[in-house]
Amino acid sequence: MRNGGWKKRVRNVLGILGAAFFFLHSSLFIFTACEGIDCTLDNVVTLNIGFYSSESGAQVSVTDTLNVTAEGTDSVLLNRGRNIQKLTLPMSYWQEADTLRLKFHGGDEDYSYEYYIVLRITKSNQPHFESPDCPTTMFHEITDLDYDDPYHLTDSIIVENTDVNYAALENIKIYFRGSTD
């Protein structure tokens, strides 16, 4: 090989090694330094229940005091709620069905009353993850809804959307008889 060719070869090798250095430098930025935490911001999974009037079909507020409890836990899911239009409630991770008791209190010093509705929601449970950095949650799919309404407060209770997930869609609609607003 001639002298000029040898110099050219050395120049080429130095050039490619320099470029490789930049490449590796950039790669390390990508692979080790610049990774952000990309978790879904709305990462709360709740069962969403809306209250409606059977006459108008419009959403209504429950003026009575509302308490929500669930079988299988001592926790009160909603304590003394007033003017409630919708409920956002946690669901159990592993149970096949959740039984919710909605207690309505009303009246005054002379007269008070208490009614309740019991919802039994059968569901499937599916763990959900996005990334090791993000919290793991449980998604659900409502497969059946049964309810007990001994005081005939409601006209009907329907499942509007079966998926309980990050989308936070309204899952159950409770149509009260007459107007409770």
Binding site: M1, N12, F23, I30, C34, Q126, F129, E130, S131, D133
Partner: protein
């Protein structure tokens, strides 16, 4: 550093390299001898994977490949490797693990018209990986109902991913039949099927899972077969032409 700044930085490096090589190619305009139809083959190994493993990157891969050389311009190429990720959550105890093979097929095109051992390559590849992945969360418990499982441990979830890669890079001859080259790649995910519980954090060969990502390789290349003789002849012609000037 934000992701867009990194992308801009890498793009700048690529453009500077491209400019230097094209400027060098414009220096002398001489009749270029035509390379033979089949110029040989080459095998190569990616050096960046072991570096990533050594520095403790969140994922790494060991990759080898082979390619053919037609006219010193067209390089049908296939690559295969093993990608691995053992990732723990930064603010929790979640763990993700996968280790699986991946494959790529495609074509590189050499933009350098001279057959002087330097190549400026652009390429297109299709990559595929079918793999299993594990995910565990030791602190996964029901905050309200209690009871039930106190942790989550999902193993052998199946996924299949296919993607397209557009690459740009360059390479040069180090010595005799040994070459060194690098490239950066923009990858676009074409399809993916994954477990309903969640998509994998990392796809072997693709990188961090998402609709698109960047990557690259630093390849040590070994020319095999007829390459050495044919290319040497072509390069000798080029050197004679250069020396006459």
């Amino acid at each position: 550093m934000p992701h867009w700044r990194t992308s801009r930085y890498i793009s700048a490096v690529a453009l500077i390299s491209l400019f230097c090589l094209t400027a060098a190619a414009r220096e002398k305009k001489e009749p270029i001898p035509k390379a033979p139809l089949f110029c040989g083959a080459a095998v190569f190994a990616d050096l960046s994977g072991p570096v990533m493993k050594a520095v403790g990157a969140r994922y790494d891969q060991l990759e080898v490949g082979a390619r053919l050389n037609f006219r010193d311009h067209y390089f049908p190429i296939c690559e295969l490797g093993i990608g691995e990720s053992n990732r723990e959550g930064r603010e929790n105890n979640n763990k993700f693990h996968t280790r699986a093979p991946y494959y790529r097929v495609g074509m590189d095109y050499n933009l350098n018209k001279k057959h002087n051992g330097n190549r400026l390559m652009v390429g297109l590849r299709y990559g595929f990986s079918g793999f299993k992945y594990d995910f565990s969360d030791p602190d996964f418990s029901d905050p309200v109902w209690k009871g039930g499982a106190e942790s989550l441990n999902m193993k052998n979830m199946k996924a299949k991913t296919g993607w397209l890669e557009a690459s740009i890079g360059c390479e040069t001859k180090l010595w005799s039949f040994i070459r060194l080259g690098w490239n950066i790649r923009y990858k676009v995910r074409l399809h993916q099927s994954a477990n309903a519980c969640g998509e994998p954090y990392y796809t072997p060969g693709f990188g961090k899972n998402g609709s698109n990502t960047f990557g690259g390789t630093l390849n040590l290349i070994f020319d095999v077969g007829r390459t050495t003789k044919k290319n040497t002849a072509v390069e000798q012609i080029n050197e004679i032409i250069n020396d006459k000037q």
